[in-house]
């Protein structure tokens, strides 16, 4: 039992199960498969964003501009769709990934070439991207009536019993799992976070790897821009306001160390699901939505406290698996 608890993923999974059981005792319908799938679907966007953020945090950086990137890309794609409804949705989505990736590349270039600390760069681009949403839209909204039915309907299409939105999250998660555990880039992301100086001596270009991390985070934010807009069928300046910190919270709860080098894809997914379960459980057990913020704040603090205790044991860094083999 003690050894089980050393693995954050298992600990988190148990915590999620505990919440599910507690709520289900009072409201048996909560734990029905249908409702659980709804919670998963609700959390899909957060999961993808948190995975993108993880890539950045692993390199000892942080991306505060993800939510603004999402809002900007979302507004662009909504306006394009409103003006040219005939453009096929897959093309629009590819466009979102490119635009989001370009915005991320802007962050990355400043971090890589000018060596400005990531927190300063993304603090600046957070406000710039958000302001640009207003500039291109003139403060107007794009609402459901202006969007084409395909644009709204795509992610709601049921495929093998799950809405496409959930499938997007699953595919993105698989891609990230492969990226993190099976590619040189993934290894570099971890290596830089564990020891940047040693990474240089092993031939890793630290700046360029950080740049790639920002591009990945930006591309994910761009994709989520389309998904967010078509899910809540409104594009406005306020979309995802303040969400950047929720994304970081999901990472932290999922065991990503803010000091870099530690974190796993399953952990981040569970961290996001934990927030999703709590948010879905509160209304069911008749707790007013006003409590939600305080409860997720407490959850973050508890997670950080547990995280710090885990890190003292020099947790799962990348080489551990290799040693075991």
């Amino acid at each position: 039992m003690n050894r089980l608890l050393k693995h954050r993923e298992i600990f988190l999974a148990l915590a999620i199960l505990l919440v599910l059981v507690l709520v289900t005792v009072r409201f048996p319908r909560f734990a029905q498969p249908g409702n659980l799938l709804t919670i998963f679907n609700d959390t899909s966007i957060l999961m993808m964003l948190a995975l993108g953020q993880m890539a950045v945090i692993l390199t000892r950086s942080i991306d505060l501009s993800m939510a603004s990137n999402l809002a900007l890309t979302g507004m662009i794609v909504a306006m394009v769709n409103a003006a040219f409804p005939w453009i096929p949705i897959p093309l629009l989505m590819a466009g979102c990934v490119v635009v989001g990736g370009a915005l991320g590349a802007f962050n990355g270039i400043l971090v890589w070439k000018l060596n400005i600390p990531p927190i300063v760069v993304t603090l600046g681009t957070l406000t710039i991207f958000r302001g640009l949403v207003f500039v291109i839209s003139g403060g107007a909204w794009v609402n459901a009536a202006q969007m084409s039915p395909d644009f709204i309907g795509l992610q709601r299409t049921i495929f093998l019993g799950l809405p496409l939105l959930s499938w997007f999250a699953i595919v993105v998660a698989l891609l990230f799992f492969v990226l993190m555990t099976r590619t040189p880039l993934g290894r570099s992301l971890y290596a830089i976070g564990v020891n940047p100086t040693a990474s240089v001596y092993t031939g890793i270009n630290v700046g360029r790897t950080k740049f790639y991390a920002f591009v990945i985070a930006g591309a994910v934010a761009g994709l989520c821009g389309y998904l967010w807009i078509s899910r809540y069928v409104i594009a406005s300046v306020e979309v995802a306001g303040g969400y950047e910190l929720t994304i970081i919270a999901a990472c932290v709860i999922g065991g990503v160390s803010i000091a870099g080098g530690i974190g796993s894809v399953p952990g981040v997914l569970l961290g996001a699901i934990f927030l999703g379960v709590i948010n879905n459980a509160l209304p069911v057990i008749n707790i007013s939505p006003f409590w939600q913020m305080a409860i997720s704040g407490t959850a973050i603090l508890l997670a950080v406290v547990l995280n710090a205790r885990g890190e003292r044991r020099k947790g799962r860094i990348i080489l551990k698996k290799a040693e075991a083999v």
Binding site: N115, P117, L245, M293, A308
Partner: protein, 331 residues
């Protein structure tokens, strides 16, 4: 958070005192401020006017008060993202006390007391439990504002006494607002604290290398704890001023203040990695942010578009010296 060295090496003052004074970060900020001031007076006929200039100060004093304490905290290598949430909680508790007939002195005491208590809580989590401050304060940010939401729900508290409103709306010398005077006094106190006392020297030492500071006999945790309390205190003061100026309390009050305060600190030349910075720079940066937002306001630029300017300014002003140095090395 990151180990990248910030390439903004200030000239060595011993080499050539005159040259280093001219090339310093602060003189660059003065230049920017003067340029914006001149642009403003050309851009709008309503700018050069005592009342208008006095109104300008309301744009930045509350955030700048927090930025003073935040500067010390960032120099020591920590950060506090919960300051806006502290304002919300302090303001809510003041409004709550108001419902039970609390008078002005009690309201002020509650506002400031809440601020210090919240700061101490942050400080305890960071120094007592050895947790990274950026995550701790993301958590307490939700926690503090969450408590404000629990108390207030979707309501708002109104009906503050006139003597309380004076803090946010009153003028001390005919046209100079109380807020500005308070800010200048606090800036002087923080300048002395950071640049003229042992405490300030220790703050720099901790930011440069906290392990070395610990071994040289600096009580690192105690000083960091005090710095968190100071940031909380300034947030409490800002809560009193903001609540008095707006005359009402909502749980969404002061949203985004944390990022603006940090922008002022970073723009003021404080290294986000710790160990370098000056109060003069922060004061100048606060003035610049105030001038920009006010000038754009006179030109009827919407608030959200102003954020583009502050954001770009943050990046451009920090990137310029780096680009300049790279260009000089290549030449």
């Amino acid at each position: 958070m990151t180990d990248t060295p910030l390439h903004r090496r200030l000239p060595n003052r011993l080499d050539n005192p005159l040259k280093s004074a001219v090339l310093s970060w602060e003189s660059l900020l003065v230049l920017v401020a003067v340029a914006i001031f001149i642009l403003n007076s050309f851009a709008s006929p309503y700018f050069l006017n005592a009342w208008s200039l006095s109104d300008l100060t309301f744009n930045f004093t509350e955030k700048a008060l927090i930025a003073l304490a935040m500067a010390l905290l960032i120099i020591s290598g920590e950060i506090d993202l919960s300051v806006a949430a502290i304002i919300a909680l302090a303001s809510t508790l003041m409004g709550f006390a108001l419902q039970f007939g609390a008078d002005t002195p009690a309201l002020v005491a509650i506002g400031i007391g809440t601020g210090i208590a919240c700061g101490a809580f942050n400080g305890f989590l960071v120094t007592g439990l050895k947790l990274p401050s950026i995550v701790v304060t993301i958590g307490t940010m939700s926690l503090f504002r969450g408590i404000a939401f629990i108390i207030l729900g979707d309501q708002s508290f109104k009906g503050y006494p006139a003597s309380f409103s004076w803090f946010g709306q009153g003028y001390v010398f005919w046209v100079i607002s109380f807020e500005l005077v308070l800010f200048l006094v606090c800036a002087l106190i923080y300048w002395i604290l950071l640049h003229r006392t042992n405490f300030g020297r220790r703050v720099f030492a901790i930011g440069n290398n906290d392990v070395a500071a610990q071994f040289s006999g600096v009580r690192v945790d105690k000083i960091k704890f005090i710095l968190f309390c100071l940031t909380g205190l300034m947030s409490g003061i800002a809560a009193v001023l903001l609540t008095a100026r707006l005359g009402s309390t909502r749980p969404s009050i002061a949203e985004g203040f944390e990022l603006e305060a940090i922008t002022m600190v970073v723009l003021g030349g404080v290294s986000i990695l710790g160990g370098a910075g000056s109060i003069l720079g922060v004061v100048l940066a606060a003035l610049i942010v105030g001038l920009v937002t006010f000038g754009l306001g006179l030109l009827n630029v919407p608030g959200i578009v102003m954020t583009i300017f502050t954001g770009s300014m943050l990046i451009v002003v920090i990137a310029l010296p780096i680009l300049f140095r790279m260009w000089r090395q290549r030449a």
